[in-house]
């Protein structure tokens, strides 16, 4: 599901409310049959993952690639007193990173702060999907990347989401992305949903139609 809308329309508010960084004024929020209306971010993360707009936000820069993956692997047990390095971990991580085609599999012990923006965002994406969340939130996750990297990360997103059959909510400014990806399109304006199309109906929509709606 792709969400578009002009600045200040309420896209990010929607996303932050779901993620738990913004408190809810009214109504109820249910995730995989659990009431999470007033639950903290960490609690919701059992069912939910998020890729931030800023590549620096989704990863811990001081920690290594492997350590970041460990954090993302299980969203429970963060207080466990068991050692976090396990046998066979390196091989497993290499296998995970290989399909990204970014050379990350050879940089497991590199601190994430030394990676490029594209590499960091690809890693964030992989981390967000590692726990097989019920809902994946993408917050304009390609907006801070150059056009080519942005395209690469978008293709990767498509691949991971389809392979894992993940319910995904993507916020974007790029109308072309909103039209190309996903099977449902929602347009937000002034805090209200202005357009909600899915399936075949969505296929028929063109960029010009959207622009017309924006102008209203």
């Amino acid at each position: 599901m792709a969400v578009i809308g002009n600045n200040g329309a309420g896209k990010s508010t929607l996303l932050n409310t779901i993620a738990g960084t913004l408190p809810v004024d009214a109504g109820e929020l249910r995730l995989a049959d659990h009431d999470v209306t007033h639950k903290p971010v960490a609690y919701r993360s059992r069912w939910l993952s998020r890729v931030f707009q800023d590549p620096k936000m989704g990863t811990a820069g001081e920690l290594s690639v492997a350590e970041n993956l460990t954090l993302a692997e299980h969203h429970t047990g963060s207080m466990s007193l068991r050692g976090y390095r396990r046998k066979g971990q390196t091989a497993a991580y290499r296998e995970l990173l290989q399909p990204l085609n970014m050379g990350l599999e050879d940089r497991l012990t590199t601190q994430v702060k030394y990676l490029s923006g594209g590499q960091r965002q690809a890693l964030s994406l992989l981390m967000a999907t590692l726990s097989h969340p019920e809902l994946l939130l993408l917050d304009e996750h390609t907006a801070a990347l150059d056009p080519q990297t942005s395209h690469q990360v978008m293709a990767l997103t498509q691949k991971i989401v389809t392979e894992n059959q993940l319910t995904t909510l993507m916020i974007t400014h790029k109308m072309s992305d909103a039209l190309t990806y996903g099977n449902r399109l929602v347009m937000v304006q002034d805090g209200q949903i202005k357009l909600d199309v899915r399936g075949e109906e969505k296929q028929r929509i063109r960029q010009a139609d959207l622009l017309g709606l924006f102008a209203d």
Partner: protein, 321 residues
């Protein structure tokens, strides 16, 4: 003189490790130090006077420090106070608590057995101090090295590095911050307990300037020992504590009166903050020179304009993530 510094430095090492935990791992300058250090001393000395053994009393000092850290942690996370203010509040409150614990502003130990009394009496005081300091510091280091190998320790590091990302990955960051404050102040109080036993008294004013001592030692240690592994970083803290003590001893040997030690401490902190900055600047300049020579450009034509853009990353900067 060096031997004495090593002994004293080892007694201060838990404090430096404690400051390292909040300052480097959690990225918080925690002023609770100034209160939890004398708290550890006060609790330990009082417990010993009331008949507890030195070991039990030191442990009580450690736990009291944890409690102080818990208070700061709650103020910081649950009441959403800026961490500096949270530390100042706890530190100020602890002054009264320390007075109540001690009953008066200076409590001497009489003939109670201190930790060094468990060692053979034939050993010199310096040797006894080193053995006790080494033992306690090794214990603290071993505990922390174990902690940072567990998932909990990893969560702690992640929280200090990127709280938003940690929360998104299921880490309850508030709990982590509180835990960090507790362990940190426990270590600091333990250091207070050791110093009180070494001095033979607890004093209400012994916490003044400890945060400066701690920060300076952290930075000194990092100048001499750099690395990413946790054991190396902790070892750097111990080294920092020893070198810092040595610097102060040298200063006293030069005839500085005891009252001037605080301004000296502050001066040392300023210097160790500036040194790495200067070193970075110098390195960038040299690298640029070498590079320009390589590509055969007249350096005078370009360095002046490029020099200004050379990045120098501050030691205390938070934006290096």
């Amino acid at each position: 003189m060096l031997i004495t510094s090593i002994g004293q430095g080892l007694l201060w090492a838990p404090l430096v490790i404690g400051v390292f935990l909040t300052f480097r791992i959690l990225d918080i300058p925690d002023l609770t130090t100034e209160g939890s250090f004398p708290l550890g001393a006060a609790v330990t000395v009082s417990a010993m006077i009331h008949g507890q053994s030195a070991i039990v009393a030191s442990l009580l000092g450690f736990l009291a420090g944890c409690l102080a850290g818990w208070v700061t942690g709650m103020l910081d996370t649950k009441l959403k106070m800026p961490s500096l203010l949270a530390g100042i509040l706890t530190m100020t409150g602890l002054y009264s608590i320390n007075m109540h614990v001690m009953g008066k502003s200076n409590v001497p130990l009489l003939d109670q057995k201190v930790l060094t009394s468990y060692l053979p009496a034939t050993w010199s005081v310096d040797l006894q101090t080193i053995v006790v300091g080494l033992g306690v510091t090794a214990l603290v280091m071993a505990g922390l090295i174990w902690l940072f190998r567990t998932r909990l320790g990893l969560s702690l590091m992640a929280t200090g590095n990127n709280a938003a990302m940690s929360a998104a990955n299921g880490i309850y960051t508030d709990r982590m911050v509180i835990l960090g404050y507790m362990v940190s102040n426990g270590c600091i109080a333990l250091s207070g307990a050791l110093i009180a036993q070494s001095n033979g008294f607890a004093d209400i004013g012994m916490g003044i300037g400890t945060i400066v001592i701690g920060l300076a030692s952290v930075l000194v240690g990092e100048i001499f020992l750099r690395g990413r592994q946790i054991w190396l970083r902790l070892a750097a803290m111990v080294l920092g504590a020893v070198i810092y003590r040595y610097l102060l001893t040298v200063a006293m040997g030069l005839g500085f009166p005891v009252d001037d030690l605080k301004i000296l401490s502050a001066g040392i902190l300023v210097i160790v903050i500036c040194l790495p900055l200067l070193r970075n600047k110098l390195q960038t300049k040299q690298q640029l020179k070498r590079y320009l020579k390589q590509i055969g450009v007249d350096e005078h034509a370009t360095t002046s304009s490029l020099k200004r853009q050379a990045p120098t990353e501050g030691l205390l900067s938070r934006d290096s993530k």
